[in-house]
């Protein structure tokens, strides 16, 4: 089945090793040392670390860290093992990450059967890692200092045991969050401010718009409550829909959600990308209330996509030949005309009589154009399959050093990717922190600018746990019965 190799099409450039090998499980198996071996190694490393680990909260350790950090200038490799180790020891919120994936305080199979994939410092991808508790997970991270951790699905059995099973079919993914990936890559044909891996405030607005539109649809339409948005560390955002109902969806339902949210279709040669029915579906109606504001500021003023020659694309999207010709003439005579004026020209020229179709059709065409330039472009391949890997929140992006922090969708506009803390900055902040209240012992992350993000995440996880607990109260008896039966297999 050729299709089972994972498409690494759009987001590929950003996430090298993982994407290329994602579904090609076998290589990971070949590359990863057999799990026993890996564990041995981990143990050895752990013992070395043990002392250091113990008093890491003490004064001495801080001083020690300072000397270590002074060697790390901002330009050094962000994924340097020393930086990574300090990061996992002091900053990474293992506890909340565990609760988030475990859906309760007591370790359960939701966490223990969850696949983690480590990208090791030497770029080797280790798939099918799993951990019984947050603590074992933490220890492995500190020992191996992976620059990147991906999260996969929960499997029917422990991923580490997959090769000992008699039947391969006994090992299959059973649940995972519904995920979305929005990457700046998809906007390359309409973004004029930056190219490639670069971003600026202007083009980040594309992501902001997408978050607004997708978030409201997930909540109001699909009824999901626990949607976590995460900055991908460079130029995109991920969404994790964590409701139980979403986690248990099969591939076809995931595809249905994507189909519902997808508006832009067709490649670069396919012409008009937006083909929607009238009357507009309420979801699109609502999106057209959110998006035009951005269309005016971000698209017309900042991106200026139809400057000079590029106006041809806009003309192609106008269905009325007479109007098109009139506009062409007008714009040819003033080549420097900005996009905002060109957009306004459409109406003014149409009013002056150069319109052979009804004004309703023109309005619809204009709506389509707004959608084409502002509607979210989701990387569909990431979310349609249950067993895809996605980068974990709070890891460090190896190229930018920025932490993959959560984004509060209610304040999406305020989020600035360029002010997201870098790992090296955070370590310096810990060192510079002055003990104010000696009575109360506080966590290292609370001393840094990572605090608001972890606080937000903690709140999010608490909300999720609360609901899990309530739903369990109702269905606890049945759950247990089902569980018992499943164990028999």
């Amino acid at each position: 089945m050729p299709h089972s190799v994972t498409p690494e099409s759009t987001a590929a450039e950003e996430q090298p090793a993982i994407k290329a090998e994602q579904n090609a499980q076998d290589i990971a198996m070949a590359d990863a040392p057999s799990s026993g071996e890996a564990e041995d190694k981990a143990k050895v490393n752990l013992e070395e670390l043990f002392d250091d680990d113990d008093d890491s909260d003490g004064e001495f350790a801080s001083n020690h860290l300072l000397t270590a950090c002074s060697k790390i200038s901002d330009k050094s490799q962000y994924s340097d093992p020393d930086v990574m180790r300090a990061f996992y020891q002091r900053l990474f919120p293992f506890r909340y990450l565990f609760q988030w994936l475990n859906h309760s305080a007591v370790p359960s199979t939701d966490f223990a059967h969850r696949e983690f994939a480590f990208t090791l410092p030497n770029d080797v991808l280790q798939r099918y890692q799993s951990f019984p508790t947050a603590d074992t997970f933490r220890k492995r991270c500190i020992a191996d200092t992976p620059p990147r951790i991906d999260i996969g699905p929960v499997y029917s059995t422990n991923p580490r045991d997959r090769k000992t099973l008699r039947k391969a079919s006994a090992f299959r993914p059973i649940s995972r969050e519904l995920v979305f990936d929005i990457d700046m890559d998809a906007y390359d044909d309409i973004r004029t401010c930056c190219t490639g891996a670069n971003i600026c405030q202007k083009c980040w607005t594309f992501i902001t718009m997408s978050i607004k539109v997708v978030d409201v649809a997930l909540r109001d339409d699909f009824g999901f409550k626990h949607v976590l948005w995460v900055y991908s560390g460079r130029r995109g955002a991920h969404a994790w829909v964590c409701d139980k109902r979403a986690r248990e969806m099969d591939d076809s339902k995931r595809r249905a959600v994507y189909g519902y949210l997808e508006v832009l279709k067709g490649g670069d040669q396919g012409g008009k990308k937006v083909n929607v029915w009238r009357p507009l579906h309420p979801h699109l109606e609502r999106s057209l209330k959110i998006l035009p504001e951005y269309f005016q500021t971000t698209i017309l003023a900042e991106q200026d996509p139809w400057a000079g020659e590029n106006a041809a694309h806009l003309l192609n999207l106008i269905p009325d030949t007479k109007l098109r010709e009139a506009l062409q003439k007008k714009w040819d005579s003033s080549p420097g005309r900005p996009s905002a004026s060109k957009w306004a020209d459409i109406d003014s020229v149409a009013k002056s009589g150069a319109l052979s179709k009804s004004s309703k059709e023109l309005l619809e065409a204009k709506q389509d154009i707004v959608l084409e330039y502002t509607y979210p472009r989701l990387d569909a391949d990431v979310g349609k399959k249950l067993n895809h890997l996605l980068k974990s929140p709070f890891v460090v992006h190896p190229a930018t050093g920025r932490i993959c922090v959560p984004i509060d969708p209610r304040k999406a506009e305020e989020f600035d990717p360029l002010s997201v803390p870098k790992v090296t900055e955070l370590l310096v902040e810990i060192d510079e922190w002055k003990e104010e209240d000696v009575e109360k012992k506080i966590q290292d992350w609370e001393k840094t600018s990572l605090k608001p993000y972890i606080d937000y995440f903690r709140g999010f996880v608490a909300g999720l746990l609360k609901e899990e607990k309530e739903s369990e109260k109702g269905g606890v008896k049945r759950e247990r019965d089902e569980h018992g039966e499943a164990m028999e297999f």
């Binding site: 089945m1 759009t10 012409g271 309420p282």
Partner: protein
């Protein structure tokens, strides 16, 4: 432990037989009575049939299913499919409604019922077969459901016991505008609405044809089809899963097993259009990376498009690479040469990046790495037109797929002219084909136009048989035929030409 299928009818042996004697008692089979034309196939058949019936009924149903599959490959609309299928269904799998007063109603339904279950046995063994079977059975069910007599259909639906909540008057008044907009209806004809979990109508959700509010889908009564069909698929998938698990326990002698194996084999043939012999072209010596530019003149439009995009951008996105790599593999480019080809083509990229991110996928396509199955199968088969035509449309920046399908007519015409198709009549023909979604017809039309002279020549000489000039349904066939035609008289008179074989 094997979980039992609880929806089964009572066990064959009834409880009123003395337990001690039960094992010697003659089995009493429930002779089912089919009240409705439609069937959700919940109860397995229990009566006896002969082996011959077993085989012929199954084959007849299989014929129907493969015709349905052909329809979906050709992108036929629902109406077209229905029209096309009428005669086939009447011939192989007639199923009349209660009102038709046919004498054989029960017999017809029995055949429908039994053949379904026989094929279920045959197609439950692998994931792939299960998916195709359930897909095709769903199409068949939908077709029948739509055509069923409305009253009988309602009766049937009532027996299904589906849980639907009706939308109350207040809510209806409040959401009316939105509900109507969602289903795309402009006028406000009164109708009933149901409220269900959106997961039950994924089809409607996926096409954005239904209003969603806090996880509930507001479905108009006329979309009942979709609900019933979704339910049908859901139950069938569950049942197939159970069948698959029970299959090893069938403990079959050699009467049914060969028939079942034969049935499922004849069903697995979607990619058969490619044979490895296509890679061996007489007169074409081993291809190396440097020759691709020249050879690309003989490529079908989909591959030429990929090639030109690659040359223009020095890059192709994943699916484009996959489609192109497999094609190149199909024309006989070795793995080593293929890696060289891609390495040279991505000239803006560092060696390191190439090795890390791209090389693996190329090797995977050739079966050089990957799981056991992949390596044994020597990687993937080059994509057929069918495959290329049925996969998802390319997104922004992607170039894979069939240009006849993915390009607008204007862009397509432009592309054709760029690759040297100037003939007005041909271009006009292509435009019409594309409008009717006959993409492969358009492609064959272009082929015939480009090779007009050569085709005439081989026809006149009679050196190529009719099968050699059959409709092209695989990009690799396109290339092979094109190359041979353009190199006529260079000692490769024919593909299967007898004189060539004897050398």
């Amino acid at each position: 432990m094997i979980r039992h299928d609880y929806s089964r009818v009572e066990p064959k042996r009834r409880a009123y037989i003395d337990p001690k004697k039960r094992q010697f008692a003659k089995a009493e089979f429930a002779q089912q009575n089919y009240e409705h034309r439609l069937n959700f196939y919940t109860l397995p058949p229990t009566a006896e049939i002969t082996l011959e019936e077993f085989e012929t009924w199954a084959i007849n149903r299989l014929k129907v299913l493969s015709e349905l599959e052909a329809c979906s490959f050709r992108n036929r609309s629902q109406e077209e499919t229905a029209e096309y299928m009428t005669s086939i269904l009447n011939k192989y799998l007639p199923l009349r409604s209660n009102s038709s007063r046919g004498a054989n109603l029960q017999e017809e339904r029995k055949r429908d019922h039994y053949s379904h279950f026989i094929l279920r046995l045959a197609f439950s063994s692998t994931e792939d077969l299960r998916r195709r079977f359930s897909h095709l059975e769903t199409i068949l069910f939908r077709l029948r459901f739509r055509e069923d007599d409305p009253r009988e259909r309602q009766d049937f639906v009532r027996t299904l016991d589906l849980e639907w909540e009706e939308v109350g008057e207040d809510e209806k008044r409040e959401l009316r505008g939105q509900m109507l907009a969602a289903i795309g209806s402009k006028k406000g004809e009164e109708q009933d609405w149901f409220k269900v979990d959106w997961e039950r109508v994924p089809e409607l959700v996926s096409q954005r044809k239904v209003l969603l509010k806090r996880g509930m889908a507001y479905v108009p009564a006329r979309e009942q089809t979709s609900l019933v069909v979704a339910e049908f698929t859901k139950r069938l998938d569950e049942q197939l899963e159970l069948t698959a698990r029970a299959l090893p326990r069938l403990d079959e002698d050699d009467r049914l097993a060969p028939i079942l194996a034969h049935l499922s084999q004849s069903f697995t043939a979607p990619e058969a259009a490619y044979s490895s012999s296509d890679a061996n072209i007489d007169g074409l010596s081993a291809i190396n990376a440097g020759a691709i530019d020249t050879l690309s003149q003989n490529f079908p439009l989909c591959m030429q498009n990929l090639h030109m995009t690659l040359r223009a951008n020095s890059h192709l996105k994943h699916y484009g690479r996959l489609q192109y790599t497999l094609f190149l593999k199909g024309i006989g480019l070795s793995l080593e040469e293929c890696i060289i080809f891609w390495r040279r083509s991505f000239k803006l990229m560092t060696d390191d990046k190439f090795h890390k991110e791209y090389k693996y996928n190329i090797r995977h396509s050739y079966g050089d790495v990957g799981g056991d199955a992949n390596r044994r199968g020597r990687g993937y088969t080059p994509y057929s037109c069918q495959k290329i035509l049925t996969e998802a449309l390319p997104g922004p920046g992607q170039t894979h797929g069939c240009p006849y399908r993915t390009f607008t007519v204007e862009n397509l015409t432009g592309l054709l002219q760029r690759v040297g198709v100037q003939d007005r009549e041909t271009l006009q023909g292509v435009r019409e084909d594309v409008k009717k979604q006959r993409y492969h017809v358009a492609c064959n039309r272009v082929f015939e136009s480009v090779h007009k002279k050569e085709i005439k020549k081989v026809k006149d000489e009679g050196s190529w048989s009719a099968t050699d000039l059959d409709t092209i349904v695989h990009p690799n066939t396109y290339f092979k035929r094109s190359w041979l035609l353009k190199h006529l008289g260079e000692g490769n008179a024919g593909i299967v030409g007898g004189d060539k074989m004897e050398e």
